[in-house]
């Protein structure tokens, strides 16, 4: 099995850094009831790297994603995307967001929904490789549905459209918060492989929140295990499985070893919290 050639994060050339999260602290609540949700989180995601966040409920995964997306301000610390501040990056439409629910506009067709990011903030369209919305819908297997409305599609198809919407405007980084959590197991597996296939031929930096260990392993280059109270990074596990990956990999020894490792790490995090 090939060993990851970029296992040593500190040896990365600055140009290859997609996202740099440095010492982010975030707390909520009034002065006396203030609780720290993120306590000094640092993380870097390389260009074209797929990183998953996994951890117990309430450990701050969504909060971290929101800070990176610029939807929430960190109390201290910094986030840069290709060296620019999050604000600057968002002005240049460098961030693609896939929320937990598809959040498609019900009064627009699938094609119109997926075209939306191109239409919004058009001044940031210059000099980027915008995708043809039709083409991208085709490659997500939604070619037959482009003129349908979201309510006419199944939940899995809607979520695929939401992912297509995030890829269409060629962002630097994609942020996905449990995009498949509302789907049933079979559907979920299908959507996961669909995303994997698409991403493997369209490499982008991805920060992906999930509760599923197999999902994290199958998709990621690295898995970041978080601990709660306060939210922090407990361990970063390299996934040195070869790419392109496919469903057959679930049965491989390497996959099973990793699964054991990630589960052990999660168990440790949960037990530490209980003491």
């Amino acid at each position: 099995m090939s060993v990851s050639s970029f296992a040593h994060a500190n040896a990365v050339h600055p140009d290859d850094v997609g996202v740099q999260v440095s010492n982010v602290v975030k707390s909520f609540g009034a002065d006396d009831t203030r609780t720290t949700v993120l306590n000094g989180v640092s993380l870097s995601i390389k260009k074209g790297e797929f990183v998953s966040l996994i951890g117990p409920s309430g450990c701050g995964k969504s909060t971290l994603l929101k800070v990176v997306a610029g939807l929430s301000e960190a109390d201290s610390g910094s986030v840069t995307i290709k060296g620019k501040s999050v604000r600057e990056a968002s002005r240049h439409k460098a961030i693609g967001l896939v929320p937990q629910s598809p959040a498609l506009l019900p009064w627009r067709t699938i094609l119109e929904n997926v075209s939306l990011p191109i239409k919004i903030n058009p001044s940031a369209n210059a000099g980027r490789a915008l995708r043809d919305p039709r083409e991208i819908l085709e490659s997500f297997g939604l070619g037959h549905a482009i003129n349908k409305y979201p309510a006419q599609l199944s939940g899995g198809m809607q979520q695929r459209a939401a992912i297509a919407r995030a890829f269409v405007f060629d962002p630097e980084i994609l942020l996905m918060d449990e995009p498949f959590s509302a789907l049933d197991e079979m559907n979920r597996d299908q959507q996961r492989m669909g995303l994997l296939d698409f991403w493997q031929s369209n490499r982008k930096s991805v920060l992906f929140v999930t509760h599923s260990v197999p999902e994290a392993i199958m998709l990621s280059d690295r898995i970041v295990v978080m601990a709660a109270h306060p939210g922090r990074i407990a361990e970063v596990i390299d996934v040195d499985l070869p790419r392109p990956r496919s469903e057959a990999m679930y049965a491989s020894d390497g996959f099973r070893d990793l699964e054991t490792r990630v589960r052990a790490s999660l168990r440790q995090v949960m037990e530490a919290a209980r003491v």
């Binding site: 610029g70 968002s90 019900p106 903030n121 940031a124 309510a151 919407r165």
Partner: protein
Amino acid sequence: MSDLSLTTKKSKKRSSITLGQILWNWGPPAVTFIIVAVLWQLVAINNPYVLPTLDAIGNSFASDPKMYWSNMLVTAQEIAIGAGAGIFFGFLLAVAMAELPIVEKAVMPLIVVVMVTPVVAIAPALVVAFGFGMLPKYIVTALVVFFPMLVNSLAGLRDVDQKALDVFKTLHASRWEIFRDLRLPGCMPFVFAGLRIAMPLAVVGAAVAEFVAAGQQAGLGSLVTIAAAQANLPVTWASIALLCLLGVILVSVLAVLRKRVLWWSDEDLIGR
């Protein structure tokens, strides 16, 4: 041959279904109306000073249709202009409040005070101020419509899909883009709920304004007061019937409009 019999069977079945549906849709209300009409007629024949008979109302229409028509037009005009202004400004203020918190802070207390003041009590004061012309009628009708529009539109503008809003924000959408593509279309179900309340109220507002100030131009509300004062029951009830007709027309137009604008919020209308 068997082919032929099959098609006739099919078409028969289909037509019987539609006939059944027609009966199901129109039958029960028709029965209710017939029962009410019969009861009405029984009461009217035995108590001529309580209710006019239905044929007396019909005769009254037939004897002077022009008079009824011109009065109905006056009331319709009050509703069109008054309610139109109330809807427009109610929505406009809702947008201003949703976009600029300072506007809500500044205006909301005043709104609450005006909202709890009975419009019926304001009407005579408006007549003193503006005379017996059309203006006080427009104002009263507009006031009645204004609040349900404001309150509902504001609720609708606030009720955005937070996840969709997050997507817009990460794209650095301008406030105008968020309004145009997200808030405005998204608030329409609430706006139509507001209109559904406002439309019948508009008829009430116009009629009340006319009760208070009959004016030179009359209108159906004035006709009711004048005829009632003369104990002319057929004219009184004929005018009431026309007010009712105005309300039914408004609500029907609204229902058609709603289907055209809000097809996406109704799963039946999208057609899976």
